[in-house]
């Protein structure tokens, strides 16, 4: 006799949903194992996507710029032309210096003190104020190496290293403490990362810190790395909280220098 069969149906999650969820969980598990066992492989797999993301972002900004007003674009063009002329002249001078120095010293050069690395990911792709860079232990990068941005501004330290990549923890990562100085008299402070490139620090009121004072990293040979932009103070308190803005915007970092071990 033919019987009608009704399969049991899960009232909470359908079979299809469970299958798709299981597939995602499996992929997540594989990626987690890759990260723990072969971190370089994971970065290698993700690098083309990160590079595509960066290229797409630049294309988007270029496209958005085309909607700007003609007057603003003309001003920008004039500025760029002026900068180009200045750089061309500077380049000629430097090229002449290179020729002179090569004549004097030969073509032998010392090992450079830092490694140039391309930034694969930066905030806000990552919410942790971290960078992934494309140079690792093969390029003699070691943990705790100082990382500097344009103009030699310190931005963070290497947290972990793989063969061909490294992760950089920015000084602004939430909860990260960094020894620094502030103001003309180099008052010692402890910078606390506030996320998204910003910092906080506390100093006594009688230190006379004012808005606009520079902040220097103690480890980087007193290199300037930020500016005091706000002072928060309670009348009953003897201390003042400094809100510090970095000199380098971590959201737009594309190249960094990593000091050699």
């Amino acid at each position: 006799m033919k019987r009608t069969y009704f399969g049991r149906r899960n009232a909470l999650i359908s079979r299809g949903t469970a299958l798709i969820g299981g597939a995602f969980a499996l992929v997540a598990l594989i990626i987690l194992v890759l990260r723990l066992a072969f971190p370089s492989a994971l970065v290698s797999v993700a690098t083309p996507l990160w590079k595509f993301s960066a290229a797409a972002g630049e294309a988007f900004h270029a496209g958005a710029a085309s909607f700007a007003s003609p007057a603003a674009l003309q001003r920008e063009l004039d500025t760029a032309r002026a900068q180009n002329d200045a750089l061309t002249n500077q380049n000629k001078t430097l090229a002449a210096q290179v020729v002179d120095l090569q004549n004097l010293l030969g073509s032998r050069t010392d090992v450079p003190p830092a490694v140039l690395a391309s930034v694969l990911t930066r905030p806000p792709e990552s919410p942790y104020d971290t960078l992934v860079i494309d140079q690792g232990s093969r390029a003699t990068i070691a943990p705790d190496a100082l990382v500097t941005g344009p103009g030699g501004v310190p931005v963070g330290k290497v947290a972990s290293v793989n063969a061909a990549s490294a992760r950089v923890l920015l000084f602004s990562a939430p909860g990260t403490a960094t020894n620094a100085w502030v103001g003309q008299h180099k008052v010692p402070i402890t910078l606390t990362g506030a996320g998204s490139g910003a910092f906080d620090a506390t100093v006594p009121k009688d230190a006379n810190i004012v808005i606009g004072d520079s902040v220097y990293v103690a480890d980087g040979g007193a290199a300037a790395m930020g500016t005091v932009v706000r002072l928060d103070s309670d009348p009953s308190s003897t201390s003042v909280t400094l809100r510090i803005q970095p000199l380098v915007n971590p959201f737009s970092l594309t190249w960094v220098l990593v000091s050699r071990s």
């Binding site: 798709i20 969820g21 995602f24 993700a46 942790y128």
Partner: protein
């Protein structure tokens, strides 16, 4: 169709988009398949988390988001509209 597009977008966004967009897309996808929230949270931390950077926020947010999306989807299905969530 919407479910497939959302899931693909959420999966790809982990590599391509800033984290606020990733959060929104993953939560929307989790309304259809709750496990996606936890899975993509783990993948996100595998890609970006660095020791010393505090808690693995993405994984924790994924767990919370998945649970929230699960109950929200049930609520919508039973009380508001019988849609294929």
């Amino acid at each position: 169709m919407t479910r497939s597009v959302l899931m693909v977008l959420a999966a790809v966004s982990v590599f391509l988009f800033p984290w606020p967009y990733v959060t929104a897309l993953v939560f929307l996808a989790a309304l259809y398949v709750p496990l996606i929230g936890i899975s993509l949270g783990v993948i996100y931390d595998a890609l970006y988390y660095t020791q010393g950077g505090g808690w693995p926020v993405a994984t924790l947010a994924g767990i919370v988001g998945s649970v929230a999306a699960f109950f929200l989807a049930r609520f919508i299905r039973s009380r508001i509209a019988d849609v294929s969530l």
